[in-house]
Symmetry: C2
Subunit: 427 residues, 2 copies
């Protein structure tokens, strides 16, 4: 094999700058590990004049991506431009040209998984994407390699730092969602348009990747339930803590139950004694259960310039050390017989209702739950700050999602119910 | 490469039975992953007649270890007999015969590291030992591979399940060490002779391995401070919780400070908001800080038949997929200039003293701290159940270990001090 490995980087934004900085910091360490010279030979971006705050060889900069594709000396292409196009075109081109690819682009992988992987296989090169889920946390390699002797039974992930930061702040300070979101935006923890993070789409894309590696099946986002955190209130958080000993987390869940795979993203009540409840702020955590190892959790910074760069460069090192390793992602013969419809999921629920404070209200609501075979574990009624109005907090025993959604709809149609019932599933 | 990989197992005890069971459960999954047939061809133990509770091919059983060494079809040898000899002889023999080795034997690796690794290098085969630290937790591979772009700055590990179980029970139930130890022994969480676990020796051996992988230096156990948990009392735990917001954990610490490496094992006060404080019971956790990724934690079951087997079989899979991978453990050019003497360590301390309840006591004690340049952050005096006796709880600012040990010795010589002062370092 050659004495020098050359790397081309497409995308000189925040993460790209982190990658350059990581090579600036630790190239001697990296070269020692792999026993070769490693060179970031080419950095391509439409804008190569803005100062990124990192030292860079001016000769490496280019605005023409063909300077990477057509350079036979470049072995590895790092794609960090994000988005679907032209990122997909560039990744496929790199693979077709026999170059290994490292990417952090979860949106692209979640959508174009089959095309990307089949192109890599065809050209006998590798695609590595540790940074795409959980940022700097070593998560995909352990799932795919260290735990390779296990059938994975379930995956629970807190894998969006923005949503977790907002829920943590709401919990610690008793503040409203909108208020905390605004602060998060000011501090740079949330985007100007935060939809993607707070509505669970980012979490869903990452869950698609985790589900492939854990269970060997590719489930498109349209196939599963994705629900964000915008309707969670301080009252929900306070009730969960004080009455149930739980906190509320946006969880990505993939779990195999009798051959059926549940895939879902939604706010979830997590008992305080569960380790996931201690994953706070912008941190991420993934809790996996294997049939041999039992529960395992990995924790760390799920986003940001340097943590993400750590995983990107780690993937480069992995490729250099295993250039000839066969392409394998997840178990080949999955035990998944089918993907469960959300309406068939069974879980416990917490429900919050706002109603008029008058006789017969609870009777009617309880009647609806009875009609839909939903058995109640506890019912709490509390006054609100509005006179003549109460909040009712209900915790159910295990019930069927289909029944729960219908019951909630029926309840929301009652004339004394003042807002759509909020329901949150339990872990 | 061959179509079938044959494995020989030495040691058919608890973990060995777990390995057999893992292959019984998941051989189809494993063969799918590696694209070859995988066969546990030979199982050697002095006792091959006892029923281990797992299904086993009688033809595989043998009492003669040469049935493994002399079988040219066997590619991988798993050593699970434990202890130093004949385990070392067997491992070296396997390596000399060109076989890869998987072992969970931390005691052996911690003591004979250089001989084992140099023999593997000489014979161009691999030694894998994921199970030796943190049982089933993917820990060593992430440290060595996934985080390979990082200089590791510090490693903090809760890596002994017995000690952690005892401290957790003492914390949750306010019980005495000896009482909880007895219960742990009855439940099988502690050995009949628990010295090795409760005095920190097992933790120290694992820390030696973590230190090699994290920092590239092999520090013998005689070189560093190892202190167990036998002197921790319910009073220490209660004070830590109520007055300091901390819990007490037996920590393995390896951290680089200005080129000097601190390596130490001792009970440590861990703030409740630190994720390590949530690692409870028999679970293990390792909290690493890299210069690129920041903090990362891995968590799971650090011992037991199946979790440990998960890591052992995971190592076999890793070897099969990377038979030709060069042998590399930890950074080659370490940044460690020297290993710090324990007496040069600087940290904050918690101190508990029992003294007579009389005038002038605190004055004399405070004078000793002043003489040794130890500045006090807080002093609390509380009555004990014995009349005429008080406990004094002191928290210091950062002080030098050398000064602290001398001050503690001077204090223990005061005639009104009734027991040797207990001091616990802060994280």
């Amino acid at each position: 094999m050659k004495d020098t490995v050359n790397i081309g980087l497409i995308g000189f934004g925040t993460i790209g700058s982190g990658v350059v900085e990581t090579f600036n910091m630790n190239t001697p360490l990296i070269e020692d590990k792999v026993g070769k010279k490693v060179k970031l030979k080419r950095i391509v971006d439409l804008d190569v004049t803005t100062d990124r705050g990192v030292e860079v060889d001016p000769e490496a900069l280019s605005t023409d991506v063909n300077d990477i594709f057509n350079d036979p000396e470049i072995d590895i292409v790092i794609e960090l431009m994000g988005g679907y196009q032209p990122a997909l075109k560039f990744i496929l081109q790199a693979l077709e040209n026999g170059k290994h690819v490292v990417t952090a682009n979860k949106a692209l992988l979640a959508k174009h998984w089959e095309e990307v992987i089949s192109t890599a296989k065809k050209n006998n090169v590798r695609v590595c994407f540790e940074a795409s889920v959980g940022g700097g946390i070593p998560l995909l390699q352990p799932l795919n390699e260290g735990l390779a002797s296990n059938n994975i039974e379930s995956v629970y992930g807190i894998i969006n730092g923005t949503a977790n930061y907002i829920l943590t702040k709401m919990t610690e300070e008793g503040r409203e969602f909108g208020d905390v979101l605004k602060e998060a935006q000011e501090k740079g923890y949330a985007e100007a348009d935060p939809t993607f993070d707070i509505e669970g789409h980012d979490t869903a894309q990452k869950l698609i990747i985790l589900t492939i590696l854990g269970f060997g099946v590719y489930v498109k986002q349209e196939r599963f339930h994705v629900e964000g955190i915008t309707r969670v209130t301080p009252d929900d958080i306070a009730f969960a803590r004080d009455e149930m000993g739980c906190c509320i987390k946006l969880l990505a869940i993939s779990k195999l139950v009798d051959g059926e795979l549940e895939v879902r993203v939604h706010p979830t009540l997590v008992p305080e004694e569960h380790l996931l409840s201690s994953v706070n702020g912008v941190f991420n955590g993934a809790y996996l259960i294997g049939d041999v190892v039992g529960p395992v959790m990995m924790y760390g910074q799920g986003a940001g310039m340097m943590p993400t760069a750590s995983a990107v460069v780690g993937d480069c090192i992995d490729i250099i050390q295993n250039m000839t390793k066969p392409v394998a992602y997840g178990p080949k013969n999955t035990r998944v017989q089918s993907v469960k419809e959300m309406s068939d999921v069974e879980t416990k629920y917490y429900i919050r209702l706002t109603t008029e404070d008058k006789a017969g209200v609870l009777h009617e609501i309880a009647g609806i739950f009875r009609d839909y075979d939903i058995s109640l574990e506890s019912v709490n009624q509390k006054p609100t700050t509005n006179k003549g109005e109460v909040q009712i907090f209900i915790v159910t025993h295990t019930a069927l999602e289909r029944n729960m959604t219908t019951a909630a709809e029926k309840i929301s149609q009652l004339k004394f119910v003042e807002s759509e019932p909020m329901f949150i599933r339990l872990l």
